[in-house]
């Protein structure tokens, strides 16, 4: 245990009022709208949402990798008490990979097909000046061993196409861990994989988390994965975090109708019975409904929901939800 320095006090990452917009012909539309959350050192936060919810754009924003026509329009990204928004591109590049690493869904597109996997891991170390050419070879093999790739020395000379999907994702994790980051952002890391391979990758992430003391921002659409991996969960819908809190509390007693709907739509119970579906579809960016973006699909909507977007309401220890059902004054007035 090392003595806590200033840099380790407070959360490891504090995202405050992050807003990322895309400039379109019809003006700027917010893909991430006033998003605030924290991740403590060694903590795993599950960021849950469907396609278009803004969860991946949140990840790219933290890395400041959003490309035109997208741009970060506001907010702060406090990492180890430093606002990443104030860094110049060179400083930011030192943070990427070395302090915060990203693992993508599709390892085949994230890996370079014309370099061996050993070279690609080694390159990460070279770029960050953490190894000489010779050392980087040896470290690459060590990392491949760490992520449980059998016969690592021989595999280091393989090209990505020679590996299975699961093995490629292990290589991605090895690259992510190469510079000993304190935060790994994993964006749907197992979505492209078979369920037994997914289980192995989740086991590996769990193992790496305790071995390296990693904090993980785990982006997924699968509440089962959240239940298995996360300490806390943030549920995103249409660019906003609609509910956040400890994973057990949220899965046991969800407070937002969207979270409730997601949990209820998972098949369980009596065979052949109709599932409890959420009606309607996820709104498109730039065509968000007024007020709470979920209101057209919400079984519990009432007057205030269509008027203005709900603020956060505290609904228990460390729990917030953006839903007027928890505004006692409005609920009383609505009766």
């Amino acid at each position: 245990m090392t003595v806590a320095t200033d840099a380790t006090r407070g959360p490891l990452l504090g995202v405050e009022h992050l807003t990322t917009v895309f400039d379109t012909a019809r003006g700027a539309v917010a893909a991430v709208d006033d998003v605030t959350f924290e991740i403590g050192a060694g903590e795993t936060l599950g960021l849950v949402g469907e396609s278009g919810s803004g969860k991946s754009v949140t990840a790219l924003s933290i890395m400041r990798l959003v490309e035109r026509p997208g741009r970060i329009a506001g907010g702060r990204l406090l990492f180890k008490n430093r606002d990443l928004m104030t860094l110049d591109e060179r400083e930011m590049q030192r943070v990427r990979g070395a302090d915060i690493a990203l693992v993508f869904q599709e390892p085949m597109t994230a890996l370079n097909p014309v370099f061996t996997i050993g070279d690609q891991i080694g390159e990460t170390l070279l770029v960050h000046g953490l190894a000489t050419k010779r050392e980087s070879r040896r470290r690459a093999v060590e990392l491949l061993e760490a992520v449980r790739i059998p016969d690592a020395a021989a595999r280091a000379t393989d090209y990505p196409h020679q590996l299975s999907g699961g093995m490629r994702q292990r290589v991605m994790i090895a690259i992510a861990l190469a510079c000993k980051p304190s935060l790994v952002i994993a964006d749907e890391p197992t979505t492209a994989l078979d369920v037994t391979i997914q289980a192995q990758i989740l086991d590996l992430l769990r193992e790496m988390r305790s071995a390296f003391g990693l904090a993980i921002l785990l982006i997924t659409h699968d509440l089962g994965i959240v239940a298995e991996m996360a300490d806390r969960v943030a549920v995103m819908y249409a660019g906003r975090i609609v509910e956040t809190g400890p994973v057990r509390d949220i899965l046991r007693s969800p407070k937002h109708p969207y979270t409730r709907g997601l949990l209820a739509s998972i098949p369980s119970g009596t065979r052949g019975q109709r599932l409890t579906a959420i009606e309607g579809t996820v709104p498109l960016l730039g065509h968000l409904p007024s007020g709470c973006a979920f209101h057209p699909r919400c079984p519990d909507r009432f007057d205030p929901c269509t008027v203005s977007p709900p603020p956060d309401f505290a609904v228990g220890t460390g729990r917030l939800t953006k839903c007027y059902l928890h505004d006692t004054a409005k609920v009383a007035a609505g009766r």
């Binding site: 699968d222 098949p267 065979r271 052949g272 409890t276 579809t281």
Partner: protein, 292 residues
């Protein structure tokens, strides 16, 4: 009597083969047999490369099987000549996984749904128009959107268009190949409910090909588990999910993430050495067989 009976189905592909390399034989489907009763939903489960999709395609002869028999309404359709097969296909349809790539992007959805009627020369123009509108309503789409293109629909709506097309010729049997896995979680349940409603209303028989075991458990009455081209376990869904016998089935079931934060988690790893590739299916209990 079963509606569909697959016996000793085999599909071999040759892979590679060139100037310097000898071609290798891939046994994608390796002696697969099962039968589906009229009105039931039969689940075919397995991971990528297990041969479940190839099995489905062989059953409609979208891929020509190497050998075996596929009996539909007690006739071996593998023996049918082209014209006969074309007529038979009216009664056997398939819905694909990806509603983004399985619909022709240049065709209005009305044309997509109408096309099978035109190909099979059914009805006058006016009758076809009515039929397409009716189909749209059956799958829960607004007939006002008939002239739209696929990109103007969401994923869930596109899958409904695919379903309307599959239903156009009044089939009795539909192969559903991962019909909801490309859809958002909140939309999956809607499409699953629709599939169950249609089955009731139209007396459909389904072959449900999927990797989502939670879903298979929910909607299938009987299930076959495929591993490396073979069925390693088959039986009633209750038997398979409550007492899996084959090491692969056990590993597969234990790998499914559950949303209950307090559920006991015991991951069973598959030791490939524990799988006897040559074992034949043995009866474990009534309507439950495993290759152990």
């Amino acid at each position: 009597m079963p509606l569909v009976e697959v016996s000793h189905l085999v599909k071999h592909f040759t892979r590679g083969g060139g100037l310097l390399r000898e071609a290798s034989l891939v046994k994608a489907v390796d002696d697969v047999s099962f039968s589906i009763d009229a009105g039931e939903t039969f689940g075919l489960v397995g991971e990528s490369g297990s041969g479940k999709t190839t099995t489905g395609r062989c059953m409609l002869r979208l891929v020509e099987p190497t050998s075996g028999e596929v009996r539909f309404k007690d006739e071996n359709i593998l023996a049918f000549a082209r014209a006969r097969m074309r007529t038979a296909r009216r009664d056997m349809q398939i819905v694909f996984q990806d509603p983004y790539s399985s619909l022709n992007p240049r065709m209005r959805v009305r044309e997509t749904v109408e096309e099978p009627l035109i190909i099979h020369r059914i009805g006058s123009r006016e009758e076809r128009r009515h039929r397409v509108e009716e189909l749209f309503r059956v799958v829960g789409l607004d007939p006002a959107h008939l002239e739209r293109y696929p990109h103007q629909f969401s994923g869930g709506q596109r899958q409904r268009v695919g379903l309307a097309r599959a239903l156009a010729l009044n089939p009795s049997f539909i192969i559903l190949d991962e019909p909801v896995s490309a859809l958002d979680v909140s939309v999956q349940a809607q499409v699953v409910n629709l599939l169950m409603d249609l089955q009731q209303q139209l007396k459909l028989t389904y072959l449900f090909i999927a990797h989502d075991l939670r879903l298979v458990e929910h909607i299938c009455s009987r299930v076959a588990v495929m591993y490396l081209g073979r069925i390693v376990e088959i039986g009633s869904a209750t038997a398979i999910f409550s007492s899996p016998q084959h090491p692969y089935t056990r590993a597969l079931l234990s790998a499914v993430p559950v949303t209950d934060p307090d559920a006991p988690r015991k991951r069973i790893q598959l030791d490939p050495a524990s799988v006897d590739r040559l074992a034949s299916l043995k009866e474990i209990a009534s309507d439950h067989f495993a290759a152990i």
